[in-house]
Subunit: 328 residues, 2 copies
């Protein structure tokens, strides 16, 4: 019997889950929930109801797992605990500093409702969290490195857009190749913020704006740019839309450590991602953890988990026997 | 309270576990078991008893987990089931084709004794199995690639040594860089055996041996070398011992897949290892899974598992709270 998936929120992530459900033959999309007027929301899959978020409780027994597709800033802190009382849920909450408090809120709600939840699913947090954990437990004496990019940082793009005279902007975070090579060598370098990433900005000016002033304001902006080597390119709006509309991203988690007599043997573990679509990859991970949370709930699990708590085999539709014969 | 570790077999792997126990402050080495005369086995850590394998049953209540350090060909198929009836165990059984039957034998024994076991722990099988699983469940429509090396293949070195006129030999498996690059591009190439790896052989001849004949026998050997581009270097025994005595290894697991509208978005997940010491890395993984099996046994788990069945958080000495605050 198929796993009945609900999508809560139909933006980039919601559309990505819709594709992911199609890519997993054991899943079916039961309904899409929206805070907008449902009659105004066109989804891709035919025959799937679009329902007002206000009516979600009526679907309590018709959905095996709800995949939350809202943002981490304001949507998920409110929505995930609320829905975890009614449904098994997965979300992609990615504000690292607030994961502990989000976990506690979802845990309390899920336990109250007798449901299971997995939060912070995606690539970072998510697959990168797993890479950090496996790296740390194997090479107990070592050093962690996480590099992001090349990819668009939404927060940094927004920060540029708030500058007076800027009409539109995209900011790429780019890992420094020589820093990556130094880390891969096993030498465990100490790297400053500036040495790890550069920032590339593509900026469309308002008519009559002062380019030199905008560039100076970007490059000296504390936290966002001042600690980085930043390049600013002024381009036309057409060029921005044509060449910088993509959602590609990626990154690297590297654990470098040593073992043996006087730590004579160096080892480097590297996990990397190169993604054409950040949201579609995130939702592909969400779909796999949606399967896992349903199975864990069936086995009596209640309360909140992260990717670290989920036995990998629960992610796969294959049996343990099939996995041992084909994958181990 | 420390986890009391037993080492069963004191070769390269046993010595590696000894280092790994030192690198994990929550572990202590309780005893080393050997089939040799214990008085003839010098171990590195002072004050740890070396015990005859014949007396292992007397240690039933003094050891939390036994780490088996024998070989996959003849030792582990016999030893792991036997010991799994008495102890929680982990092993590094790596004959892929026989994992299902080894699993069943260990599972039956562990259930009989009320113990927990994790088999096939290491890097392949082990960390590479995990990389394959995570890659497959996320990018459900895609292709898997595993590359090994650069590193010494024991089986291929042995095959060369059996040729008449060969005194000693080492064989390196080397991944083809252009094949790796093609896979990383996301183009999902079909690769033949010859296109993925080359084989480099360092050979010491007996006095008076026919070099041309030996080279021909190597390069035409079915299964081992005939399907590969093979290079043969004749060197002196001194050079072999000086430059080719290491145990470095490594490899790459790459999952390439696509998502979205007409599969327009490509994604590449890569996991790679660069290891100065194959056995010391393997035993570092074994130590982490030894911790996990003890904790799983405490929570009532009985029977056999692989790395796919172990929730990652069980590998770490940190609490869930600590992990969520620092690693997720």
């Amino acid at each position: 019997m198929s796993i009945k998936i609900g999508i809560f929120g139909y933006g980039n992530l919601g559309r990505g889950v819709e594709y992911a459900v199609e890519a997993n033959p054991d899943m079916e999309l039961a309904a899409v929930f929206t805070r907008r007027d449902p009659s105004q929301v066109k989804i891709r899959l035919a025959g799937v109801p679009v329902v007002s978020a206000a009516d979600v409780a009526q679907w309590k027994d018709k959905i095996d797992v709800m995949i939350l597709c809202g943002g981490s800033a304001t949507d998920l802190p409110e929505q995930t605990p609320k829905l975890a009382e009614l449904f098994n849920v997965v979300d992609s909450f990615d504000t690292h500093a607030n994961i502990p408090q989000h976990f506690d809120a979802v845990d309390a709600a899920a336990k109250k409702g007798g449901k299971a939840a997995i939060i912070s699913v995606g690539w970072d947090p998510g697959m990168f969290s797993l890479a950090r954990l496996y790296g740390n437990v194997i090479l107990t004496e070592g050093k962690d490195y996480t590099f992001w990019g090349k990819g668009v940082s939404q927060g940094h793009s927004d920060a540029i857009r708030r500058i007076k005279g800027v009409k539109n902007a995209k900011q790429y975070t780019v890992p420094v190749e020589s820093a990556l090579e130094a880390v891969r060598s096993g030498s465990q370098p100490e790297l400053t913020t500036r040495q790890k990433h550069t920032r590339e900005c593509y900026v469309v000016l308002e008519d009559g704006a002062d380019a030199a002033q905008v560039e100076k304001e970007i490059k000296t902006m504390p936290n966002y740019f001042a600690d980085y080597d930043t390049t600013v390119h002024f381009i036309s709006e057409e060029e921005l839309l044509k060449n910088h509309g993509g959602l590609a991203h990626g990154g690297f988690v590297i654990r470098s450590g040593a073992t043996g007599n006087n730590k004579e043997h160096k080892h480097v573990i590297e996990f990397s991602l190169k993604l054409d679509s950040n949201p579609e990859f995130t939702t592909s991970v969400l779909a796999a953890y949606a399967r896992a949370v349903v199975r864990l709930a069936k086995h009596g699990k209640k309360g909140c988990m992260t990717v670290l708590d989920v036995p990998p085999a629960y992610l796969s539709p294959k049996t343990g026997e099939e996995l041992r014969a084909s994958l181990v």
